[in-house]
Amino acid sequence: MPDQMIRTESLRKSFGDVHALKGVDLEVEPATVFGLLGPNGAGKTTTVRILTTLLAPDEGRAEVAGFDVVRDAEPLRHVIGLAGQSAAVDENLTGLENIEMVGRLYHLAAPEARRRAVEILGRFELSEAAHRTAKTYSGGMRRRLDLCASLVGRPTVLFLDEPTTGLDPRSRIEMWEIIRELQNEGTTILLTTQYLDEADRLADRIAVIDVGRVIAEGTPTELKMRVGGEVLAIRVVDRSRVGEAAGQVLGLGPGGGSVDNNTGEITVPVGDQGPAILTEAVRRLDRAGVALADIALRRPTLDDVFMALTGHAAEEGDQPKENGKRGRRRRRG
């Protein structure tokens, strides 16, 4: 077994004038969950498509399970599984027929393909629906069926491209449990997500990707440390005075801070001087006569990390990109 299950070296890919990947380096250890985190258009799907042999890189190289994704594409396809953003199942086939078909395409004998299909559908609680056509399935069921299809070949490396996008909260939690189980069985998993809490919960390591580059990489804890220990979060009663309040407190910490234009929340990284800065902030705001709705010290979320790294919030991927101008305004103190 190679010591890195996935290894990429300065992967580049352009589509015409659009530079989707501008040199991506990744290393993923066996039996870990690796989170590729970033907004839409960051290059997550392009990376997954290259690693699953669907797309050839323009430059750089990538190995999965010891196979080069271009040179050894054929043997590589035997050991990977892919579950995509749009659940790729044939809606005119039943659940069982879908999975059997994929089994046959892995060149399993018919009885073995049937046996595995029944087993996998049972495991993901689709036995009852096995003889219904997939078009009658709910969104969550389709996604599970798609995942079943990606597991028929018993992959050593599993690629999940936004596995929970569009799922209701219950299905999302179910998917999380499944991903953890698969990891416990020794499967290496690369998942892409735009949800910070998802990466935080599932991933052993996270690479934050933005406009085709990895801008930070580490464990969730390491990434949160980057913001500088704790964060002071402040909300004022009168939203029109947010700017004034920010002016009073943004310079207090070692690392500037930011204002969320949507929620009006002011966040200030405080390092290890939380209590002192908190006291000073209260004093200044009181003197300025700004009434507080809420003030608290909290551990940073990956949201704060994303803000600190990119200068824009992470969850607005559907909007056209205007780097550094979206959602929150960032100020250096």
């Binding site: 498509r49 699953t52 042999t53 669907l54 054929e74 043997p75 396809r77 035997h78 990977i80 892919l82 995509g84 953003q85 749009s86 659940a87 790729a88 199942v89 044939d90 809606e91 005119n92 086939l93 027929e97 078909m101 994929v102 046959r104 395409l105 892995y106 060149h107 056509t133 299809a149 070949g153």
Partner: protein, 276 residues
């Protein structure tokens, strides 16, 4: 040593061929199941040519009598054209089916599997050809009901039907290319009709081409649809054929066009599929 390598290569080639056939068959079955589960697709694409037959025979038939040699019923003249038209129209489903699979991400799934690269296209074109065969045979039944007869005997008549099916098969590859390059069902449907129109209607399929203006006659003469339809008239009209039987030349030209389309569009489609 080199003998071992050669032997391994032979085994490898054999295995590849087995996978190409096996995987192609798995996808053919999958596509046929869709035809069975979505019968409206087949029903509506069959109703249309039936309506064409009725329209041409009963609406235009009376007027057409004047343009045809005495003693040649219009329905007998018309049906070879309808067979070819039916086959070509039905072949558009290949483009639609591929565009749907691309949009739904199924093609991505297939391409990430260790299956034969050729199977998605071979399974698609084969299943669609089965649907074409069904429609052409149904058209024959309808034709006989409105008075169509095989004047040159059954074997030649069957050869004409097989010919129409081959034409449909060749066109599935043309539409495969359209489906893979356009990637949207609506675009494929619109493009298919534009692609079909000059072939099917500017030909001798529905009316004798000698009524066309001169420039159109020049196109109609080289138009493969005219050549196929004239060939199938040789095979169904017998002594009634106004052009006189020219079977060997027509068969040769028809086969050449059939092969030419395959030689051009199979490699183009396969290459595009690999790159998609």
């Amino acid at each position: 040593m080199s003998a071992t390598i050669t032997a391994e290569r032979t085994v490898d080639t054999e295995r590849r061929l087995r996978y190409a056939i096996g995987d192609g068959w798995v996808l053919t079955k999958r596509n046929l199941i869709t035809y069975v589960r979505k019968p409206d697709l087949l029903v509506f694409s069959t109703i249309q040519p039936v309506m064409f037959v009725l329209l041409f025979v009963y609406v235009f038939g009376g007027a057409m009598k004047l343009a045809l040699p005495a003693g040649l019923p219009y329905v007998d003249f018309l049906m070879p054209g309808i067979f070819v038209q039916t086959a070509i129209f039905a072949a558009t489903q290949t483009g639609v089916g591929l565009a749907e699979d691309l949009k739904k991400g199924l093609v991505d799934r297939f391409r990430s599997l260790p299956m034969a690269r050729s199977a998605v296209l071979s399974g698609r074109t084969l299943a669609d050809s089965a649907a074409i065969a069904f429609q052409v045979v149904l058209m024959l039944v309808v034709a006989v009901l409105v008075g169509f007869r095989l004047h040159a005997g059954l074997p030649k008549g069957l050869l004409a039907l097989a010919g129409a099916l081959s034409v449909g098969y060749a066109f599935t590859w043309m539409f495969a290319l359209a489906g893979l390059s356009l990637k949207s069902v609506e675009a494929v449907q619109a493009a298919s009709f534009t692609l079909i129109f000059p072939f099917v209607f500017a030909s001798s399929a529905f009316v004798p081409a000698d009524t066309f203006p001169h420039w159109l006659q020049s196109w109609s003469k080289v138009n493969p649809v005219s050549i196929w339809v004239d060939t199938f008239r040789d095979l169904t009209l017998g002594h009634l054929n106004p052009a006189g039987e020219n079977l060997m030349t027509h068969l040769w030209q028809s086969t050449a066009w059939f092969l030419a389309i395959l030689v051009i569009f199979v490699p183009l489609s396969v290459r595009l599929y690999r790159k998609t």
